[in-house]
Symmetry: D2
Subunit: 327 residues, 4 copies
């Protein structure tokens, strides 16, 4: 049990309710706040984070957005309706070659993208999950209508996603290629990883937790089992650790951040029930942490400047993103 | 004439061809290169740019992506078919409130975005414009098909859009609220602006040129005349200036970067004919430079860390972007 | 007053509630029914309708679906978010010409359409409007979620839209080019039109009412004021007439069937409040009745075979349609 | 060999070229024609077809359009990029229930559909396939650009898809549940089926050929192998039969009408090379013929009124359709 990190017993709704009471940040940044723990990052943290840049190396943590994305896979669970990006052209080089653009006196290509905001590398915004009839900061869930999120839309974060990034590479610490499905990353492991990699997670940080699942998928050239399937991930108890650490945001290389199957039968994604609406924690998912992990292992520095601006789509509950780690 | 910056005579196709010969960068970074002038930015430039951050202030240069975007306006020119973002929900807080999600044991919202990549704040990638039957670096324009750009897709830039940003605020220099339509920003003005604002544009920089047109539109609460319409913008001759300066990329607060009506009747957007396919210059458009301009005027520092990662949409010829200036 | 057809006083919510009680068809076709008044059309009506075909002439009542559609216009009212069809290609003849398809050993073109189901010529399905917390036949409105209409989806009508069509051409009867905005078509006018054109509306018919507004728009080459704007249309009292006549469905050449400004300030589209959810009446809108009207005027026959199959999009609350009148 | 209907030897490009010469209809209906063999149906044929209606029974031949559609399956062949319909809501009953619509004074639902025109039951228009650099009637293939089909768009057929329908139920004739993959339907079989079912295919008819493949897929609850995979279907030689019969259009219950694997290695879908661009034959695919086949077997009448109007999407090369057989 200890080795896999699984908790000793299944969680109940009482556990979830207790966590909600214990970890609730509503009102902490005022009744009008819409960005939650992103408030932890102060200007001085941003200045300090820029000084971590020593090599001028930029590492993108985004998967390509295309029809080969992770929504193509099959799992044993019901689908959520998300699909891979559909990219279509409005004008092409073949149009140009064919001469049909020349009446416009310019030869150009144009394109269109259609995608669920959570189809690939993404930020879950604070409008994404509800706790009962409420969302972050106690807003009524009915403020997220078919017309979008009138509160906590992702556009509210547009100048917020900059700070110190820290990578905790759990499988590397454990000498594993990847964490297996159902492996829960515990508070003990997170603390051990800080010591192991010589990096302390601090207030306002953007914490990246690697499980290795994505790289295994990419190596196997299949997404079957990834999106919505079983996965390694954060234990429910990490909510307390993240709360105490006062991180700005967290991201993982998995579809859903938390361990699956979940630690309870009474809720789906119980960690999400608390992290997003109760704590106000922005969550990144489907981050490609492979190159960054190799780079950190090589230079032994697990901290870096992190810049991952969401697209300010008005009223969106999430956003595709090209997160950058700059070393 | 001097006051408006317009050139003395209309350009001809011979002028355009001569510029193409004079400014062609094909092969400069090898036969396989797909990112052009972004190569000018070296790792040491990135490190140095991070040291420009003194206040920890992040300024987003993106317009909101929504149905109130700039594609809604009318002009006297034929439309390009671009439309404002369409944002639709797959699950909502009203679904949650209605209880219809509870069988899933989680209350969540999900959404979808559909948009032309160039409907709002955007990077034009090197697959966007063709010169004759060729694109950047001499690639055949037929590599941009209905299936997307097989060469020079925007995803090739995914770890490139980081460096020193410089703002040249032309209307402020001239004591104007905004530059009027048809006002051409000349080389002389760019050079004068460097001196006026005490900032030198250097190799590998990301140059932002403000015209004030966007803020005027926002103040007037209409986009009529903006997208595809007449506008202030870069004179054709600035191609030489940018070439000599070796900038990594350039962006403006207008729809199309260059002055409109164009300086010629023989080509549409002649500056684009050269900048993107011949020079390999990535171009940003519809950047909201208002807040940044005010901030720079206040602290008198017109350089900053600039981070503007494109979404790596495979084969896309452009990308929406949330560009950040960090001071 | 009599000339314009407007009622003598504004309607109140009490009038609407009284109409709901008076005209409610819930349960008439059983507790499981999802198609409402389409049940009025019996097989023998269909057989009889086919015998109306004498010339073998087919008239399409659909507007083209494209970017020049009626959603482009401006009105003084808030927009609903509908947009004109977006048609994009996945493969083209220019790709073919450029040779880039030849590795597939076939030269073909493919395309994609994205559109609101109500952006052009359309059927409003019975999931489109709610009366309080209920929809047609008393179903809970919460059966229409972000996942679509679990009850009364348009797909339930897939073999229903066939029968006798009748055109009542009100402006022609009145010697007018078109009915002006705010002109209410009354029961008296409908009855007079039957006599004028020598055609009786009967149980199970598909009734088409022409106002001439669309043809005026097409002639003026603008849609400003059309979608969601003021318009001629059916008076609220026609609900009783249609109920008594037991029509299967009704369609008009306007955006919203009923007269606008509406006959009340207390509800928006009060006729819709009753027709769709209370009576179970399927409603067609944005039908192009110009050619049909000319044809009927010429041959003096205002009845015909009507075939207008909705696309069976599962869970849709409406459908684009190419309705055919066959004479 | 005779039992499966496969031809004795593989076809070559010479065979295809010979068929093109032999079967070319270019110019037959004038140099401006854009609808090809749909011209075969005359007004008197339409009148006569209506008289086939005896029972007033309407049978829809459309599959539902939804995420469970046939594009979900996997095959051993490369994908074409088509995807199942994406249906999204703009307003919902849950919005209504939540009270968030009440400021509009109407409770309504609205929706959007996005789909490839060929993702489900469909008409292939005459802009869909090219023969060399030409399309139907000799038009240059470059008239089908990223902006759509300037010639032969599906909208040209908007008042054409009405006539006599004939079903030839090949597996029933042969005493089989379904034709197996790679089974070619030959001219001999078509002729035999006419006699077997007592129905003669005539000039201007809409011919439906059943293979039973779709019903087998529906029964097995999987689309794997269907779209783009191996299938029973029309032999190449049927082009001559259809040419001689002068049918208006043909449709089958398979993804691609013709037998797969194809009868040649030198071309993909060789029957399509000729039928659409050379003969001008409109082709229906993914028609659900199960209920119709049962009905015809029961009443022993294999002819009926057929009405299958394409949506007039301007410049589309195909259209989703809800085809109706009316008996």
């Amino acid at each position: 049990m200890a080795e896999t990190g699984a908790s000793a017993r299944k969680l109940t709704m009482d556990d979830i309710r207790a966590a909600a009471e214990r970890l609730k940040n509503w009102g902490r940044w005022g009744a009008e706040d819409e960005v939650g723990t992103l408030n932890y990052t102060r200007p001085e943290d941003i200045v300090a984070a820029t000084r971590l840049v020593q090599k001028g190396k930029v590492i993108s943590l985004a998967l390509p957005y295309d029809h080969r994305g992770p929504q193509g896979g099959k799992t044993k669970y019901p689908a959520l309706g998300r699909f891979n990006p559909v990219h279509l052209m409005m004008r092409t080089g073949t149009d140009a070659y064919s001469g049909v653009l020349d009446s416009r006196k310019i030869r150009s290509a144009d394109d269109v993208i259609m995608m669920p905001t959570q189809c690939g590398t993404q930020w879950d915004g604070l409008g994404h999950i509800f706790y009962g009839n409420h969302m972050w900061n106690g807003y009524d869930c009915r403020t997220v209508t078919s017309a979008g999120a009138q509160k906590c839309g992702i556009e509210k974060t547009k100048d917020r996603m900059v700070g110190r990034g820290v990578l905790l590479d759990i499988p590397r610490m454990l000498g594993m290629e990847r964490l297996p499905d159902a492996f829960a990353v515990t508070n003990e492991m997170l603390g051990r990883a800080e010591k192991h990699f010589g990096v302390e997670v601090r207030r306002g940080d953007f914490l990246l937790v690697r499980t290795g699942q994505m790289e295994a998928m990419l190596a196997a050239n299949t997404w079957d089992g990834y999106s919505g399937g079983d996965a390694p991930g954060l234990a429910f108890e990490t909510l307390d650790w993240l709360h105490a650490k006062q991180v700005a945001a967290i991201a993982t290389d998995t579809w859903g951040a938390e361990v699956r199957p979940n630690e309870t039968d009474e809720a789906n994604q119980p960690w999400h029930w608390i992290s997003i609406p109760v704590m106000g924690l922005t969550v990144g998912e489907i981050f490609d942490l492979g190159e960054l992990a190799r780079e950190c292992a090589e230079d032994k520095r697990y901290e870096f400047l992190f810049v991952a601006p969401a697209l300010p789509v008005t009223g969106a509950v999430a956003s595709p993103v090209n997160p950058l780690a700059i070393k």
